[in-house]
């Protein structure tokens, strides 16, 4: 009996050099030849991802009916192939480090999945292996809300991760991603969301329609400068997922009714530019307006704004969009209208020159269209439970 052993070995997996020792059988004449040993014809390895590239697509599935069990899928945006997946937890956020080497997941865990002690972290993963390299505690917690992209942002230099909280004051916790340590919390009374435009600066939208810009130091002491109201927060609020051009430090606020308010976030205080409309009067009369979840996305080098549009009345701002409209952000000129194969809740655009438009359809399929051609490249099978947010490198 001892002449035989099981087909196993230490999991020298990443090395890819696993050789399977095959059973060498004993005396039973019905068995294979005694002492037979076969090499495994193939190694049994764990795949690693290619370095982060412009067409990698991250799909955050908030898994609403089992919200403790959110996950992010990693796709090859060019083909729709699933390249990997990792678990997130309760109403998470997600971002890619500016250099593409790390993935940041903002997660809330309960000791017993849905009960017991809660703990909040920025979870750092290697972007190629998806292995966790650090759980950075967020001792001040974070807001639990159906995941919105700009409840978390990373400064352009990759140094700080900024997480939004409401407990009960509205605050932003500053985490030093290099030192792997939360360094403090900055109050942003009456404001929310985080658009991190510079090494030690971020802006937020305020309940009264102002923009607050916070400049902070290495101890997370912040100075707030607020603008006058730049949009009508009561009657025509700006979408949380407005167009964010971090590279040019420009935020293109898109309102429920379809107005665009460009806001320059470069300085210590934001400066709003002249507003323009997504729609002309005839289009507005026909009911065209923005709507969905991740309603807008931006292509930074082209300086183009993409908006999910549908026809509907008031209070349809979360209706799925049937088309994506592309605009020159600096002029307000509409470049094209792209009809989607299926109404969609969320869109994103790859940041390469030959940009792809991604959409999460209502059937939970992921669609990719070439923006130059408007042609559908693929649709995936339905992905996950309730895929919600799309992230590309550099967005």
């Amino acid at each position: 009996m001892r002449g035989w052993f099981a087909g196993m070995s230490a999991a020298g997996v990443a090395a890819g050099a696993l050789v399977l020792a095959l059973p060498a059988f004993g005396a039973d004449p019905d068995d294979l030849a005694a002492d037979a040993k076969l090499q495994l014809a193939e190694s049994h390895v764990t795949a690693t991802l290619t370095p982060t590239h412009a067409r990698r697509l991250f799909v955050l599935d908030v898994a609403f009916p089992a919200a403790e069990a959110a996950r992010t899928y990693v796709l090859d945006g060019a083909t729709g192939r699933i390249e990997g997946m990792f678990n997130q937890a309760y109403w998470p956020n997600f971002a890619v480090s500016p250099d593409g080497s790390e993935l940041y997941a903002v997660d809330s865990y309960w000791e017993k999945h849905t009960r017991g002690k809660r703990s909040d972290y920025i979870v750092v993963r290697d972007a190629r292996t998806l292995q966790v390299s650090e759980d950075i505690p967020l001792p001040a917690g974070r807001l639990l809300i159906v995941s919105k992209k700009y409840d978390f942002d990373v400064t352009p230099d990759g140094r700080y991760g900024l997480t939004y909280n409401l407990a009960p004051q509205t605050t932003v916790t500053v985490t030093d991603l290099k030192a792997r340590k939360s360094i403090g919390t900055i109050g942003i009374p009456g404001c929310g969301l985080i658009f991190a435009q510079a090494a030690s600066r971020f802006s937020s939208l305020c309940a009264d329609g102002a923009i607050a810009t916070v400049t902070f130091d290495e101890s997370a002491n912040g100075t707030i400068r607020r603008t006058a109201n730049v949009f009508d927060a009561k009657n025509d609020p700006a979408f949380e997922h407005s167009g964010w051009d971090k590279h040019h430090q420009m935020l293109y606020l898109v309102t429920y009714h379809g107005k665009v308010v460009p806001v320059d976030l470069a300085g210590e205080q934001a400066v709003a530019g002249p507003s323009w409309w997504l729609t002309d009067e005839a289009e507005r009369r026909a009911g065209w307006r923005p709507g969905g979840w991740q309603v807008c996305h931006f292509h930074s080098s082209k300086r183009r704004l993409y908006v999910l549009m549908h026809r509907g009345g008031d209070w349809t701002h979360k209706n799925s969009g049937t088309e994506v409209w592309e605009f020159e952000a600096t002029t307000g000129r509409r470049v094209q209208r792209v009809r989607l194969p299926e109404p969609a809740q969320s869109i994103a655009v790859s940041q390469d020159d030959d940009a792809l438009l991604y959409a999460i359809g209502d059937s939970y399929r992921i669609y990719a269209l070439g923006l130059a051609t408007g042609k559908l490249l693929y649709k995936t099978r339905p992905l996950g439970f309730t895929p919600q947010l799309l992230t590309v490198w550099g967005d």
Binding site: V62, F64, P65, A66, A67, E68, Y90, W91, W110, H113, T114, R115, R118, L143, L144, I145, V146, K148, D151, L166, A167, P168, Q169, T170, C191, G192, L193, S204, L205, C206, A207, A233, K234, N235, P237, A238, F239, E240, W293, G312, G313, D314, W315, T316, H317, K318, N319, S320, P343, Q345, D362, S363, Y364, T386, Q388
Partner: protein
Amino acid sequence: MTPISSTRFDRLIEAFTRGAAQRSSRRGFLSQCGLWLIAASALPLLPVARRAQAGEQPAGKPVRKFASAFANLAQTSDSTRCNYWRYCASDGYLCACCGGGPNTCPPGTSPSPTSWIGSCINPDDGKTYLIAYRDCCGQDSCGRCLCLGQEGDMPSYRPQVNNDIVWCFGASSMVYHCSSAGLVGLAE
């Protein structure tokens, strides 16, 4: 009840609810359909719900008896349906489908000690009532009867009127299970 407004938490609630109440007392933007306050971590995700929502946007104008689009389609008999009159400002999984009711949390959960006040028109008498919206907290999503509401829903930088926040502040658990809607009384 004694106001317990001396805590930090209370000040948040106060700030939230004051804003909400101001709007609810107006014949304005928000009061038409009741307030769409933080009643749930709601989310327009299930295809069924999306279609239902889309279906409520008819090409022609329906006969409108009330200023509230919700009230024009509401009923008062079945609390397990999205158009039950009290849910004009509710969003999320209905507690009534999960072992609770409009003013009852399912076993194993507990109502958040805080609530928002909305106002809904009862289509039977045409009067406007104040409704206390509470999340039931302590189990993960019940997963039944997702109702998507949008009327009055504002972005989360106006938290007092955003329906995506997990409204379990102050409850024994911050885990959202379902949304309930208790009757307060006549609004005016």
